[in-house]
Symmetry: C2
Subunit: 113 residues, 2 copies
Amino acid sequence: MARAATTADAFNAVAEPRRREILDVLAGGERTVNELVQLLELAQPHVSRHLRVLREVGAVEVRDAGRQRVYRLQPRALKPIHDWVSGYADLWAERFDLLEGVLDDLRNQDDGH
Amino acid sequence: MARAATTADAFNAVAEPRRREILDVLAGGERTVNELVQLLELAQPHVSRHLRVLREVGAVEVRDAGRQRVYRLQPRALKPIHDWVSGYADLWAERFDLLEGVLDDLRNQDDGH
DNA sequence: CAATCGTATACCCATATTGATATGTAAAGA
DNA sequence: TCTTTACATATCAATATGGGTATACGATTG
């Protein structure tokens, strides 16, 4: 069995840095494929394929405008990621680091004896 | 060129559901490899390899305890993910959805004429 | 020292990937 | 209608993957 498809879920889709860049650009407003090509300095077919992946996980939506296709962000698709990682956000807060330090010290003292 | 390595960064490491499960378990406290094997119902070599990936991105740390190896969470490694996705968190808030709806309506009216 | 336990690593396989390039297609313009 | 524009898709190559299984290795135990 191979690695999960990038279209499997938002986690996989967003693992690719280029796709995160695309989303970052779209966060600033709708964009045409060509606009993305120029902004990201990527080949057009690559942009199209990245957009396809993002579409399949629901992170972007398309709208036809003549012979252009306008993509826009659909940030809700990122919510599962946010929900998951937020559960860890507390754990690296400073106060927890301090606590962790204390606990480490206690452990080391135990090891020492 | 193939897909980026899972060890390239936290985003890639965490794209695998099994690795997220491992982190979720470790969020509850340190665990031995065997404990993870039993909790996750995965083959031991697979757990070991997943742990290796998580180690390489700094998401877990190991401690030797006799012939066992105790893994613990290092949540700081997930901070880049949280930082990135938090930028989108506002965008799916209800009030923004409402605003978005209004904007869509306006756009459609324009298209109609 | 031999046997066993707890982990890590090596190997094989099937698969999905990204980049590059070429080609197909629908819309707009001459 | 022919051409150009704007995208999407197909194909090829190289590669990293995760699962399965076998095996190697260090620590503990007898």
